[in-house]
Amino acid sequence: MRWTPKDIDTFDKAREYIDTVLVPLVPVAFENGMKQSASMYDFITLLTAAIEHQFKGRIMLMPSLAYLSSVDIDKRMELVNDWKNEIGSFQNIYFITSDSEWKAREPEFAGTLIWMPSIPLEHFGEEQVRTMVGDQARQVFDLFKRKWNEA
């Protein structure tokens, strides 16, 4: 499901089947690393779209949670925890990001952080981008399938 009125209608009718929420975490920087943050955003957007496409009926893809890179990581962690608490009714909540700063805080996510290194897609043609993002997405597919099988 995507965050659109049409998909929310479907969600309301089939709540018991959609037990997983995916929140993309995207950094925004203006001074240093503006281009890098844009590149990460581009990558995560395509990757999450591929994941949503595959698992439309079980995953709810949230709008990207954007934050300033300059904001202190503790404050950002608070923001993430707020989201986590609010979305609590879902069985699985996952955060997906390319921002390596989160990696250091992985224990606090308790297994709900998916970190994918960003690929600078701007150097590649459309066909190659599709293949590369598809390959990365497949890794995440397996992760979800495994998690669901455990439950």
């Binding site: 089947y17 496409h53 009926g57």
Partner: protein, 168 residues
């Protein structure tokens, strides 16, 4: 060299007829084109989208065929990738199934569930379909997989609109 000399009168009338003819043709051609335009439109292109799949390479084993087309979402233009599961049935007829699960829209895979081989399998809620796309009773999906219209041109497979499955 010809001995026959062209008179001034003859020369002028030939020239005028020629130039006049060209002008008339220049005016009439677009009109004729407009009139017959619908006839000239290519019909094979129509709503069918080319895939990279050779029809002769298709077997009885469903094969995943990806194809892309341009989609416009309000202002946002994007290349949309669509998928079809294509195979030839026992009579050699092509079957192109949509991979969109009729339960909640996940993408189904062929033959990935080990306990139920040779079926389409949805990883989200373990819905299953037999090879002809009909949903297996007792699994979440309530309808068979949709079917693509298809076309063959120069040995390549072209896919069109999705239609509801006939043999439900």
């Amino acid at each position: 060299m010809s001995k026959h000399n062209v008179s001034r009168r003859q020369f002028l009338s030939y020239t005028l007829t020629g130039v006049g003819g060209f002008m008339a043709a220049g005016m009439l051609m677009p009109m004729v084109r407009f009139a017959v335009d619908p006839v000239l439109k290519a019909d094979a292109g129509g709503d069918f989208i080319a895939t990279n799949q050779k029809v002769s390479d298709l077997t009885t084993e469903p094969k995943r065929v990806d194809f892309t087309y341009e989609q416009t979402d309000a202002w946002y233009k994007s290349e949309e990738t669509k998928v079809a599961w294509v195979y030839k049935d026992d009579n050699g007829k092509i079957v192109a199934l949509s991979p969109v699960c009729k339960h909640l829209g996940c993408t189904v895979d062929w033959n990935t569930d080990k306990s139920n081989p040779n079926q389409f399998f949805c990883p989200c809620h373990y819905g299953r379909y037999t090879k002809d796309g009909v949903n297996v009773p007792g699994t979440p999906p309530v309808a068979p997989l949709d079917v693509y219209d298809y076309n063959e041109k120069d040995g390549m497979l072209y896919l069109g609109q999705v239609k509801p499955h006939k043999g439900a």
